[in-house]
């Protein structure tokens, strides 16, 4: 049980208490959005809403905050995976915008929101620099705040595998960020 745990809140929410449900939502929604941003960028809001509704349906069988966190991110991950499968089935060929008549370019709302959010930008950076498995483990550990065993339960792998993926991800991030930093320094020196 965590310090300042939400076991009582989870129990109240399981009984259908609206305030408890709102409390859980406010507490975990940012991390759910961050996790879904790493898996399905641009669709995290819709997927998060579906995740919460599904999790609420399973609440009556839960007793502790840890149970709820595991369930919540497990549902979010599966929702994101299902979303990716749907996108692959409904694959479309985007039209070449240069062939269309000149029109004022409408700003991409989702893109602007994501770009305007430093957290989302940081998460997107992580997913760009790391392989999917390592990025998933790092995001669950950093953004969702899950422990190694909890991450293992969510992604369906062993704790040892999670530890290895985490270690490799950290090292790779450090290398990639260091390389970027060096390149930025070189560019800065040349410009001077």
């Amino acid at each position: 049980m965590r310090e300042g745990g939400l076991d009582d809140v989870v129990a109240a929410a399981a009984r259908g208490d609206g305030d408890a449900l709102a409390s859980l939502y406010r507490r975990f929604q940012p991390s759910v959005l961050g996790f879904l941003t790493s898996l399905a960028p641009g669709h995290e809001e819709d997927l998060a809403a579906e995740t919460w509704i599904d999790a609420a349906g399973a609440l009556p069988g839960l007793a502790t905050e840890d149970d709820f966190r595991r369930l919540l991110f497990t549902i979010a991950r599966r929702r994101a995976i299902d979303h990716g499968r749907k996108l692959r089935r409904r694959r479309t060929a985007p039209a070449d915008l240069t062939l269309l008549p000149d029109q004022p370019a409408a700003p991409d709302v989702a893109e602007s929101v994501v770009d305007g959010d430093s957290a989302a930008r940081a998460i997107r950076r992580i997913t760009e620099l790391l392989p999917a498995a390592q990025a998933e483990v790092i995001v669950l550990r950093v953004v969702a705040g899950l422990s190694v065993p909890e991450v293992a339960a969510v992604i369906g792998r062993s704790a040892a595998t999670v530890s290895v993926l985490q270690s490799r991800g950290l090292r790779r991030l450090a290398e990639q960020l260091g390389r970027r930093t060096e390149l930025d320094e070189v560019v800065r020196l040349r410009s001077v």
């Binding site: 929410a13 399981a14 009984r15 259908g16 609206g18 449900l21 709102a22 939502y25 406010r26 929604q29 940012p30 991390s31 959005l33 961050g34 809001e45 998060a48 809403a49 919460w52 509704i53 599904d54 999790a55 609420a56 349906g57 399973a58 609440l59 009556p60 959010d117 430093s118 957290a119 989302a120 930008r121 940081a122 998460i123 950076r125 992580i126 790092i138 995001v139 550990r141 950093v142 953004v143 705040g145 530890s163 985490q166 270690s167 950290l170 090292r171 991030l173 450090a174 290398e175 960020l177 260091g178 390389r179 970027r180 930093t181 060096e182």
Partner: protein, 301 residues
């Protein structure tokens, strides 16, 4: 640049935000700063929040609602189909078994009669034990009579007389005639004891046996009633029986004249007469042959 590998504790501190970027291990300062930025999260959309929480309340309420008890009305389709099939199969099996039993005459008399009536309407002819004599219509009666005769049980050919109820010998059933025939044979069989002749009743039993036709006052000529009745059954039985009676010698003029010719001309006389003569001379088919043939059967089992 090759980053140093972190131990587990350092890695945990880094991912959980316990390490400030300035205090991060060499090469991991940028990672710590990136994690701090990612961990900040972003506030939930207030409009979505209200709608989502309402949906969550509905979802929890739906799961908390008591599940209606199974009233039993919602049977599985499979069980319904299987029940119907079983009922049909059982009905067909019972019907088939009943028909077979009726065809072989194995049913009890009332059931056999009912089955015969029903199946007759369908064009099927089955034995009708219950209607024996009453209807006078079935061949079974004839068969039964001739069987009785040939079996030697009554030995005399008299049995057929009572075989059908429409004979003149009403009140004198086949047992009476058979007993009379047996006793008659017994009487004529004296002097030729044979261990196989166990069928004969004792003399004390025969002492009380009277002629079935005697005392009735009805001549077997009523056997003509046989002929008037129906077909095969009546004719066969009556005729033989009267033959026996005549063979007895007591009432020769009475019976033989009346019945024998009648029966002979009917359907089964050949079987009856011949059978009687061969199986036991007592019956003697027609009264005339009685004296000669009586010794045959007992002495040559």
């Amino acid at each position: 640049m090759r980053a140093n590998r972190l131990d587990l504790q350092s890695a945990d501190r880094l991912v959980t935000g316990s390490v400030h970027p300035d205090d991060a291990p060499p090469g991991y300062a940028g990672v710590a700063a990136l994690f701090d930025e990612a961990r900040a999260g972003r506030p939930a959309d207030p409009t979505r929040q209200a709608a989502t929480i309402s949906a969550m309340e509905a979802a929890v309420g739906a799961h908390l609602a008591p599940v209606p008890a199974d009233t039993g009305d919602t049977k599985h389709m499979l069980s319904k189909v299987l029940t119907a099939k079983f009922a049909v199969a059982a009905g067909v099996a019972v019907l088939g078994a009943g028909t077979a039993a009726a065809a072989t005459g194995a049913l009890p008399s009332p059931a056999q009669s009912a089955a015969s009536d029903v199946l007759a309407k369908l064009g099927l002819t089955v034995p009708n034990n219950g209607g024996n004599g009453a209807s006078g219509s079935s061949d079974t009666t004839s068969t039964t009579s001739s069987t009785t005769t040939t079996s030697g049980t009554d030995t005399s050919g008299t049995a057929p007389t009572g075989g059908s109820g429409d004979n003149g010998d009403q009140g004198n059933g086949p047992n009476a005639n058979a007993t009379w025939g047996l006793c008659n044979a017994e009487a004529h069989n004296d002097g030729h004891p044979n261990s196989h002749a166990t069928v004969f009743p004792s003399k004390s039993a025969c002492a009380s046996v009277t002629h079935p036709g005697k005392g009735q006052g009805n001549d077997t000529n009523s056997g003509s009633g046989t002929n008037s009745g129906s077909g095969t059954s009546s004719g066969s039985g009556t005729s033989s029986g009267s033959g026996t009676t005549s063979g007895d010698g007591n009432e020769t003029g009475d019976d033989s004249t009346s019945t024998t010719p009648t029966s002979s001309s009917s359907t089964t006389p050949t079987t009856e007469a011949g059978d009687s003569q061969e199986s036991d001379g007592t019956a003697g088919g027609s009264g005339s042959g009685h004296g000669q043939s009586q010794n045959h059967a007992p002495t040559h089992p």
